[in-house]
Amino acid sequence: MVFRSVKLLTVLEISFLLLLALAGTVVVSLFVGVTDIGIVRGVTALLYGWREGYAGFTHLEKEILFSVRLPRILFAGIVGAALSMAGVVFQALLRNPLADPYILGISGGAAVGAIIGILIGAALLPLGIPLLAFLGAALTVIIVFGIARTGAQLRSNTLLLAGVIVNAFFSAIIMFLISTSTSSDVHKVMFWLMGDLSLATTREITLTGTILFIGFAILYSHARPMNLIVVSEETALQLGINVEKVKKILFVAASLITGVAVSASGIIGFVGLFIPHVMRMLLGPDHRLLLPASFLFGATFLVIADTVARTLMAPGELPVGVITAICGAPYFIYLLRKGRGF
């Protein structure tokens, strides 16, 4: 196959390398945990065993690998990819490398939506909770932007401040809901709030996975307009982009994937800040490369973080949000100190 474009070739090459890294990470984390299977034995049994029904594993090991660890790893990958991609998009739209669904309060908004859903029993409806989480996320985007917009200008500092305020407000709402609720579902909410990937059901994995890939397709088809909008909205207009329409599509798609990821996994902070940033430093700002790279690296990162979360204090577990915040918060401070860092 002959590629007509150098750029397309680069995108495919780098995506392939990152895909290999993701696959390697998945395999390793599959065999790491309380029940230590050993990577060499695990991989051997996996490679040679599929014909004989994985005879290299005991019954218990098979149960752990395929019913407990694999779904959890898949889910971590999906959520990591979703949050990283949302981060890329919000950073582009706000033209600010400090933006991220967590810092802007969008995850918090989605959480409020999801908690209301859990408490009023929306879980009984198909898509009830993800839908409410999406509405929460979308509403937050509108509120945060409403606060930060002074005239035609959107100032980054005001925006971050608006995010902090909205976050504080949502925390209060969440506390209020939890302390006044008499529902027996409260403990479910508490668990979920801390950012927990272990509770994923097959249905949630399918749903978030589907939304993630639809979201990726929509976002990727607008990767070039995103490049132009990052340069300047006026330039984008002058080069033939219908800026208002593209921005709306991007906002809705990014809020949707954030909402769905949060509704299923809780609040996992800083992934959406950290991943796009590292990718931009390594690969440059072209979104045609940045989106797939952040997708794959975000997935890899959260799989690693979740593996650490479940092995560090074994047999106990940490919420994965703790791991991401421990990595992410110092990085955020470093970026702030560096000024307009990227």
Partner: protein
């Protein structure tokens, strides 16, 4: 033949008229300058010509079509704009910025092909930006950046090139080089050039016709000899100047006194 025409264009900003009753025509292949004091509405007019701003009154016609009815992509294939400044939020390289000019010619998903690279390369050669094509925009001087933005507009392959005060941050060497570049583009590419500028002398030397704006209204429109007169400049800029024929070209030359 007329390529761009404004018909009684007016524009309001915060309830104040910043442009009123502007009617003028630009012929195909013409080199037109727009001059006037600070705040006279030059940049606003340029944005209206490109359809970024919609006039409150009147309309802008591209050949026989109202530009308000054309979509952005169609317009971008005809009109290229060189903005006054470049904001640097993310570190794009010169080559990436220039290639962005291909946007209106590519679909949403298509990557730039050989032909697009060839067009961008030619634009970079023309603007002498090839040597720093791998550098980031942030590492360039004002004049270099300006040339990159021109290369992007040339890569767009427009029929009309609009420039917004391209010489503002440049020293005299680069000011002359830039007008010379516009002249080259105009002659080689058969481009129609419309330039907003503060430099009356360079405008008089290079432009076929000049539009002089005062307080948002067209004060005078015509050849440099008709527009750039001591009386006009005194009335519009409230400044006394000496104007004599340029010793080489015979075109009006302005001396501040």
């Amino acid at each position: 033949m007329t390529i761009l025409r404004t018909e009684k264009v007016g524009f309001q900003y915060n309830g104040r008229w910043v442009l009123r009753d502007i009617s003028f025509e630009v012929g195909e292949g013409e080199f037109v300058g727009i001059i006037g004091p600070n705040g006279s509405g030059k940049t606003t007019l340029l944005k209206i010509l490109d359809g970024i701003l919609t006039p409150r009154e009147g309309r802008v016609m591209l050949r026989d079509q109202d530009i308000a009815r054309l979509n952005r992509e169609t317009l971008a294939k005809v009109i290229g704009v060189v903005p006054q400044d470049y904001s640097m939020f993310f570190p794009f390289s010169v080559e990436e910025i220039v290639l962005m000019g291909r946007t209106p010619h590519l679909g949403l998903l298509r990557f730039e092909g050989r032909k697009d690279f060839a067009i961008a390369r030619r634009a970079m050669e023309l603007t002498e930006t090839t040597e720093f094509r791998r550098r980031g925009m942030g590492e360039l001087s004002g004049g270099e950046r300006q040339r990159v933005l021109i290369a992007r507009a040339v890569t767009q392959e427009p029929q009309i090139l609009l420039l917004d005060e391209p010489t503002t941050y440049l020293d005299i060497k680069h000011q002359v080089a830039l007008f010379q570049l516009m002249k080259t583009l105009h002659e080689q590419g058969n481009l129609t050039v419309i330039v907003v500028t503060q430099d009356i002398n360079l405008a008089a030397q290079y432009c076929h016709r000049i539009l002089l704006i005062k307080n948002g209204r067209s004060f005078s429109m015509g050849t440099p000899a008709e527009v750039v007169t001591e009386e006009n400049i005194r009335q519009v800029y409230e400044t006394h100047v000496l104007i004599d024929p340029h010793p080489r070209t015979g075109l009006p030359r302005v001396t501040l006194i």
